[in-house]
Structure formats: structure tokens, C-alpha cells
């Protein structure tokens, strides 16, 4: 398989430490901004004394709610999160005061001198309880109370099917829970800001959505969005955790308070745990009806998401989860209800897998339950019900060509890790049990209907005859910037070195949406290829002037030149670059992702982002070894197959699958925020464990090379799908190894040990 992306254009600068992240922007003499957090999950501020902090030498400003111009409200769709709390504290990480100081030491000292008096309020920490009539109100007076969002998706007549079930049918049901998960991007949220003498708020931020940030800051602080400039250099990881409010509004507020000075805000790891949003904890109750031959008939159930106190994208995340609740399977009748509840837990928000992690775990567990009931091979049962092109998914959207779950399952089922699983299991060494699981996975691409998934791409011919592309979608590590360089080089017939890449900057790049939703390479890539075609036509037309050629279509764009094959003459691109005015050296074009043509009449509550047209599909095998003395589970094999359109870069696909699967393995086995009544135990990387190099096997990838006709060079997005495999596959493998029926993640050694009947069995 060809690899168009090896090595990545960004790799050497990063490996040698010369690439500059937002975190590296600390100009000499910059001020430091930091936040005093509430520290209690629910309460009323009765006293806030900042005098001692304000009078400290080296303190430039101390700001409270009263100092916030504008609405003080941040949020992507729902504007419900205060920049600084006035009276009501709704979670431990709420910001109460903002300090700007000459040094980090002065900042820390000032923050510690702020006196916050709070009257605790009864909190609500269980999303079920939050929806009861007598629950404490997270947003008093809000219409709808603590129910932030509700939705219903259905197809056919699921209640009728369940009512009509006979002895010839099999019914399985269960309740499943997935926890809060922290992104643990290695670069904590941070940024640099300065209000220039001309009144421009100039910011460098580790953000996935610079264009949207501008409007969010402007709304919260009462500013003109066009007087805010945001640059987003390469991110040190994001995974959804920088697709929304982190430092942006606080940092902007600090910059307004001390005009002209550079101001840095850099959250510590502890603050990131405390104040950063997380993957939503969710409880999913589903029942699944099938015929004795394994044919799925109906699915019904509920999904409940713990939103924490602020909406972020909770409703949209829930909608995507509900859209995926039927798995990549053919189910004629479905009915799924979803709710998001406000609580006083940490804020729920975007995270790779965006609701699908929660749904997929439950659906795949039910497929396992069905396989057990029917005495079937779990992979074969999935294969039998795999959704095919032209059939309708669980919300009634017709599956596009490239719906290749069956092929993905086949690829993994043919692998020795699956065919040889029984022999491998029997060969377990002493005090060890082995088991293998295999599940199907899927993930939609793009924003979905109702919100244009659009990108504009700008491409410039330099006066030196090289090309500069203006990447408008932040590269948080997934390699989209390098992919864009490779795509442009190929489309223009130039060596990759002839294409440089500017990272997102709202001042000079056209808008292209956020780096999220498995959309980045697809949508911007399509816009870029259009810009490349426009550039090619332009260069041939301008080259024709220099070559005195009246039929530019016979000319060719070759490396570094436009050439005329008839005369053998050519004109260097540098000549053309010198010849053209700046406006003429630039091409801009755009693309909008196609949406579902005839959307089903369901999910009417969802105004934005429902349903989706394009999906990637896959399968995942996990094999585990269980220590019978300690209950410790080791993931010893992990294999993923994926159908995601054409493989532009096998290395790039593997990077995404391996990284996503590693996060899924963390969710399955390690990551536990330790939440009790709104307070989390996790505050650092020794109390919240992510997989190390010793905790993971060599994750193998099988990429099916397919074609998505609408995709740039035939590709689809696949940055998220890999995360869905390990949770349910590890659960199935643990059943195979120990008989433990996993209903929640992460799996603890204690419950594994108990399932085996104690430490000595």
C-alpha cells in the first residue's frame, strides 16, 4: 500500500525540539495569569476578599465577576458557563477570581491570599437523581430544570416488536456504565495574549477551534470578534479536550485588564483535572430482540449522560451516541431515548468518540449477551447482522457504499489471533487465564445535518515559486497539516519540500471549522484540492502569457515550472511568482460536506448535528491475560481493522488507530477519576493512570483500501473509530477468560478476582 505521508512534514521539527507550541510562547517579561477555583461542588459565594492579593507586590490585577464586561457567558451552543462566578458555584473547578502577576511565584502567592467564603448547597451528583422533581437545581429558575436535553430516535415499531415477541425469539437486556475520562493531552491548556495599542486582542492558544473561539470570547466579554486574532500552533494533543472553553476567555479578560503586556496562562496538570471538561459518564439501558437464528429484530432503551453543570456539547454528544446505539448492524425496529442531566460533577464535553464510546460499549455488550444465549460465536453473530450498503441504520439513514463492517470482521476473524484463540487459551501458563474478544465498531464523520461542515482553504504561490498553504484546522497531532502538504504537493505535481504550511491564524486563514468529528482531513482536504485545481489552472494561464501560448490547456505544471510540451520551452514558477501581484498569487476555495438527502423523521429535538451521512467501520480484537492471584488484567493482543475509504497513508491510519485504541484500553483497564460527590481523587498522573509503554501490546492494524467517491483522494475520516474497540472487546475477552460479565468500565482487579472465586482459585 503506498504511503504518501512518511515521514510527516512536522516530524523532524518536533523531534528536534524546534517546533513551537503555544506552551513555548513565553516572551521575556510576560505576565502570568491564573485562576482561583471554587473547590466545592455546589454553593453560594458569600464573601470574596481579594484585598490581600491585590496589595501584594508584583500583582498587576485581581479580577472578579464584577470586572467582566459582556455577558460573562461562555459555551458553544448553550451559553451557560460563567467566565468568573458571581454568586453560584456549580462545580469544584468553577473560576472565582483571576489574578495577573509579574511572576509565577507572585501569582501563586496572590492566589493563595484570596479569601473565598462559600455557603455549601446540597449538590446533585447522580444524573438519575438530578432529573427527579425535588432535586437541587443546578441552574435555579431554568425552564426544564436539570434536564439539559432530551431526544428520541426511532424507526419502525420497536414497542410492537417487543410486545409481539414469542418463544421463538430471544431477548437480552442490560444496564451499562462508562465513566468520566480525562483527555490527558500532554500539553496542558495554555495561551498567550496581548491587547495591542491598536485595540487588537492578539492571542496564541492551544485550541482546536480558533475561529469559533473568537466568537465565544467576543460574546462573553462584549468584544468585537473581528478585533480578536487567534493563532493555533501545533497542539500537544487535544482529543476533543481543547474544542471548547479552557483558557480562552480568562486569558482574554486578563489581557483586557493589563493592556499592552504579554500575558501567559498555563494550567497545571492539577488544574487541568479540576477545571477541564471530561468525557461524559453515561448509563445506557438497552434491550435487544432477536430470532433464534440470530437475526436482530428490535432494539430499545435509554441513554443518560451526566453533563456536569454546563452544557458544552452535551446535547450533540448525546445525539451522536443515540445515532450509533444500533451499532453497525441491521435492526428493523429501534427506539432510543436520551437525556442529559445537569449535575455538580465535572463538566462533560467533547472527547474523541463523542457519545459513541458510551453507546458502543452497551450495544456490543448486548451482542455478546445474545451470542451467549444463542450459543453462538460472537464474531459470527455480528457478521450475520452486519449493516450493508443500501440498508438502513438504526435511525433510518441509508448506509452508503463503503459500509464494510463484514469485510472488517472477516479480516480480523481470519487472523491467527482469532482462529488460534482456543489453543492459545489452553496454553495459558500457571496462575494465568486467557481470553479473546472481537467486536464491531463504527464512527460517523462530520458535524451532521443542520450545521454546515464547511472549510475554506487558501493556497499561495510565493515569489520564490514555491507554495504556501494556509492550514485553517488545527493539527493537534493527528497529522492533518502534513497530510495537507502531501495532498497539495501531489495535486500540484511538486516535491513536498516545495509546499510550506502556515498553521491556523484567524487573521490570514479563511475559516474552516474545528479540528474534530473525524472531519478535518476530509473537509479541509476537499477544499484544498479545489484550491489546488484553481491554482493549477491559474498557473497554466499565467504561464501561457510568458510562453506566448494561446492554448494553455496544452501546458503542463511540472516541478518548479510550467512547460509547453509542443515547443519544449518552460517558465519557472519563480518567474511567474515574481510576475504576479499578491492577490493573483492566491487561490481560495471551499467545500461543504454533503448531508443526508432525505433525513428520517426522527430525532426532531436535534437541531444541529443529526443525522450523519458518512461513517467509517471496523472490527477490533483484544486478547487478555488475567493474573489469578491478583486479578490484574493485561492486554496482550490488540488488532484493529478499518474501512475508511482510500488509505492515503498507511502510517497515518496506523497512527490514529493505535493511539485511539490505546485511549480505549485506558478507559477499559486503568482510567478512573475517582469521583465522589462531585470531588475527584485524580489530580495528577499518579492518581489517574494512563497506559505506559509497558501496559500495551504492539497494536496491529489492518486497513482495508476502499474508496469514498466524495472524499479527497477517496478518503474518509478515521481519527476516532479506533477508540471504540478495546472497551467492549476487553469485556468480551474477560468473559472468555474468567466468566466475569463486565457492565461498567474501567474493570477493577478486585471484581476480576471475585469473578474467579477469590485469590486462590
Amino acid at each position: 500500500m503506498p504511503d504518501n505521508l512518511s515521514p510527516r512534514a512536522d516530524a523532524l521539527a518536533k523531534a528536534t525540539g524546534t517546533e513551537r507550541y503555544s506552551a513555548d510562547e513565553t516572551p521575556p517579561g510576560c505576565l502570568w495569569a491564573g485562576v482561583r477555583r471554587a473547590g466545592i461542588p455546589h454553593g453560594l459565594i458569600t464573601g470574596l476578599d481579594v484585598a490581600a492579593a491585590r496589595s501584594l507586590p508584583g500583582v498587576a490585577a485581581v479580577l472578579t465577576r464584577a470586572d467582566v464586561p459582556g455577558t460573562n457567558r461562555q459555551g458553544i451552543v448553550h451559553k451557560d458557563q460563567p467566565v468568573l462566578c458571581g454568586r453560584h458555584v456549580r462545580h469544584c473547578g468553577d473560576a472565582v477570581a483571576l489574578v495577573v502577576a509579574e511572576s509565577r511565584d507572585a501569582l501563586a502567592e496572590a492566589l493563595s491570599r484570596i479569601q473565598v467564603e462559600c455557603t455549601p448547597l446540597p449538590g446533585v451528583f447522580d444524573p438519575e437523581a438530578a432529573l427527579l422533581p425535588d432535586a437541587p437545581a443546578v441552574h435555579p429558575g431554568r425552564e426544564g430544570g436539570n434536564r439539559l436535553a432530551y431526544g428520541l430516535v426511532e424507526k419502525g415499531d420497536a414497542p410492537g416488536e417487543f410486545a409481539a415477541a414469542s418463544d421463538d425469539d430471544v431477548l437480552v437486556a442490560g444496564e451499562f456504565h462508562t465513566p468520566l475520562q480525562d483527555h490527558v493531552f500532554l500539553e496542558p491548556p495554555n495561551g498567550l495574549a496581548r491587547l495591542t495599542p491598536a485595540g487588537l486582542l492578539d492571542m496564541v492558544v492551544s485550541t482546536q477551534a480558533p475561529f469559533r473561539d473568537r466568537f465565544e470570547i467576543a460574546h462573553a466579554l462584549g468584544l468585537d470578534p473581528m478585533k480578536i486574532r487567534i493563532r493555533a500552533p501545533y497542539l500537544g494533543g487535544g482529543f476533543g479536550g481543547k474544542d471548547g472553553a479552557t483558557v480562552q476567555c480568562l486569558l482574554a479578560l486578563a489581557a483586557l485588564a493589563v493592556p499592552g503586556r504579554f500575558i501567559k496562562m498555563a494550567w497545571s496538570r492539577e488544574e487541568t483535572f479540576l477545571a477541564g471538561y471530561k468525557r461524559h459518564a453515561a448509563t445506557v439501558r438497552l434491550k435487544l430482540l432477536a430470532k433464534r437464528d440470530g437475526t436482530l429484530r428490535a432494539l430499545a432503551g435509554t441513554m443518560l449522560f451526566d453533563a456536569g453543570p454546563y452544557a458544552h456539547l452535551s446535547g450533540e454528544i448525546m445525539a451522536l451516541g443515540m445515532e450509533h446505539a444500533g451499532g453497525p448492524y441491521r435492526i428493523p425496529h429501534t427506539r432510543v431515548e436520551g437525556s442529559c442531566a445537569y449535575t455538580n460533577n465535572p463538566v462533560g464535553g467533547a472527547f474523541r468518540g463523542f457519545g459513541v464510546v458510551q453507546a458502543g460499549f452497551a450495544t456490543e455488550r448486548l451482542m455478546d449477551a445474545l451470542a451467549v444465549r444463542l450459543g453462538r460465536d460472537p464474531a459470527g453473530l455480528r457478521r450475520q447482522n452486519a449493516l450493508k450498503p443500501g440498508e438502513h441504520n438504526c435511525v433510518g439513514v441509508m448506509a452508503e457504499a463503503g459500509t464494510d463492517t463484514a469485510a472488517c470482521l472477516d479480516a480480523v476473524m481470519a487472523h491467527p489471533a482469532w482462529t488460534g484463540r482456543e489453543a492459545w487459551k489452553q496454553a495459558a501458563p500457571a496462575f494465568t487465564r486467557r481470553g479473546t474478544g472481537l467486536v464491531a465498531i463504527q464512527n460517523a464523520m462530520g458535524y451532521g445535518r443542520g450545521l454546515p461542515d464547511a472549510a475554506a482553504a487558501k493556497l499561495e504561490l510565493t515569489r520564490q515559486g514555491t507554495f504556501r498553504l494556509y492550514n485553517s484546522v488545527p493539527d493537534m497531532g493527528q497529522g492533518n497539516a502534513s497530510a495537507f502538504v502531501a495532498m497539495a504537493a501531489r495535486a500540484l505535481g511538486q516535491p513536498p519540500q516545495a509546499v510550506s504550511c502556515v498553521q491556523p491564524d484567524t487573521r490570514i486563514c479563511p475559516p474552516a471549522g474545528s479540528s474534530s468529528a473525524s472531519r478535518t482531513t476530509y473537509t479541509f482536504g476537499n477544499a484544498l484540492l479545489r484550491a489546488c485545481r484553481a491554482m493549477r489552472d491559474k498557473l497554466l494561464a499565467r504561464g501561457a502569457l510568458a510562453l506566448l501560448c494561446d492554448t494553455p490547456e496544452r501546458l503542463e505544471l511540472i516541478p518548479g515550472a510550467v512547460s509547453d510540451p509542443v515547443t519544449g520551452r518552460s517558465v519557472p514558477l519563480a518567474r511567474i511568482g515574481m510576475m504576479l501581484c499578491r492577490d493573483d498569487r492566491i487561490c481560495v476555495d471551499q467545500y461543504i460536506m454533503p448531508v443526508v438527502d432525505h433525513p428520517p423523521d426522527t430525532g426532531r429535538e436535534f437541531k444541529l448535528g443529526f443525522p450523519h451521512r458518512f461513517y467509517s467501520y471496523g472490527a477490533c480484537l483484544c486478547a487478555v491475560e488475567v493474573d489469578t492471584l491478583t486479578g490484574t488484567v493485561r492486554l496482550v493482543k490488540c488488532l484493529l481493522s478499518v474501512a475508511c475509504g482510500r488509505v492515503f497513508s498507511l502510517s497515518g491510519v496506523e497512527q490514529q488507530l493505535q493511539g485511539a485504541a490505546a485511549q480505549g484500553a485506558g478507559l477499559a483497564l486503568f482510567e478512573d477519576i475517582g469521583l465522589t460527590r462531585g470531588r475527584m481523587r485524580a489530580g495528577d498522573l499518579s492518581t489517574y493512570l494512563i497506559p505506559t509503554a509497558l501496559d500495551l501490546p504492539d497494536i496491529e492494524c489492518l486497513a482495508l483500501d476502499d474508496d469514498e467517491p466524495s472524499g479527497p483522494l477517496g478518503l474518509k475520516g478515521m481519527g476516532e473509530i479506533g477508540i471504540h474497540g478495546p472497551g467492549p472487546a476487553v469485556a468480551q475477552a474477560l468473559y472468555d477468560a474468567t466468566g466475569l460479565w463486565v457492565r461498567h468500565l474501567p474493570v477493577s482487579p478486585r471484581e476480576v478476582l471475585e469473578a474467579m472465586g477469590g485469590p486462590l482459585s
Binding site: A11, K14, T692, I699
Partner: protein, 161 residues
């Protein structure tokens, strides 16, 4: 913190001398006094490895080292291994093997690799995983990083790829 000391050490092969607070974190010293930003802060508590540097050839966490502890030592950061135009074979191996994604952990990973290969020029995958286990990566699942360690070892042993 107000007392200052004269501090001399070797940084990426060149002698340096400056006046600074002895209790300043080595990480901040490198990043802010010398502009060497390859060492990153990921946790500030010695748990993630992103701030790794070599001190007299040993892998150390610069967020836990104080400025005074560098006196008389030889400190190497990722910038001292190589540059984009003249990369060290370890850095080339990371790029060629697709081991760099967000890249925030990469400078530390390359130094951990350097420390390993100095002790064990021909490690197997398990040895590589042990050597890198103090350096967290959230992007890669470590597969290609281990590939890169082995490829770097082969390159440094003079084997053709």
C-alpha cells in the same frame, strides 16, 4: 528565592555561565534563560517525562531538578542531539518510523532512547518498552515509538535499514 548564584555548566556541548536563583527549576532555566523549549512541562511532578534531559548522560526530569544541581554537569537537551537540517539518527528514526504525532513527548522520548542505547546498543522491544516506561505518550500507543528505538539502534550500529 531572592539569593542568586553564579552557575556554570555545559549545555549541549558548550560551556555556559549565568547568575540565577539556585532554587529555580532546571526546566524553567532551560526554557526561559536559554530559549531551549524542547523540554516540555506536562505535569511538573516528575510523572510524564516530557521534560526529560540528559545530565552527564543519565536521563533526568528537569522539572524536579533545581538550577544549582546542574553546576559542573553536562546537560543535553533534544536541541543538542541534532537539528532539523542535521538530525541525530534517533531523531531521524522517530520521524521515519511515524513515531511523532503531537510531538510534545517526542524530545523526551528521544533522550530516553539515547540513554537506553548508550547502555544497550541492541535492545529488543521489551527492553525498549521498559526504558520508555517513564515517558508518557497519549497519541501513539507506543508501537511506532518502539519501532523507532529499534531502528535508531540499528542505525547507530551502522546497519543499513
Amino acid at each position: 528565592m531572592s539569593e542568586r548564584m553564579e552557575l556554570s555548566f555545559t549545555l549541549n556541548g558548550a560551556p555556559v555561565c549565568l547568575t540565577t536563583e539556585p532554587g529555580r527549576r532546571a526546566l524553567d532555566l532551560l526554557r526561559e534563560e536559554f530559549g531551549l523549549t524542547a523540554a516540555k512541562e506536562g505535569c511538573g511532578l516528575g510523572e510524564c517525562g516530557a521534560c526529560s534531559v540528559l545530565v552527564d548522560g543519565e536521563l533526568k526530569l528537569s522539572c524536579l531538578l533545581l538550577a544549582a544541581q546542574l553546576a559542573g554537569r553536562s546537560v543535553v537537551t533534544a536541541e543538542g542531539l541534532g537539528t532539523p537540517d542535521a538530525p541525530h539518527p534517533i531523531q531521524s528514526a522517530f520521524a521515519d518510523c511515524g513515531a511523532v504525532q503531537c510531538g510534545y513527548c517526542t524530545p523526551g522520548m528521544t533522550l530516553a532512547t539515547s540513554a537506553l542505547l548508550a547502555q544497550n546498543p541492541d535492545p529488543d522491544r521489551d527492553a525498549a518498552r521498559v526504558a520508555l516506561s517513564g515517558n508518557l505518550c497519549r497519541c501513539t500507543g507506543y508501537v511506532k515509538i518502539v519501532d523507532a528505538v529499534l531502528a535508531a539502534g540499528a542505525a547507530l550500529r551502522g546497519e543499513k535499514p
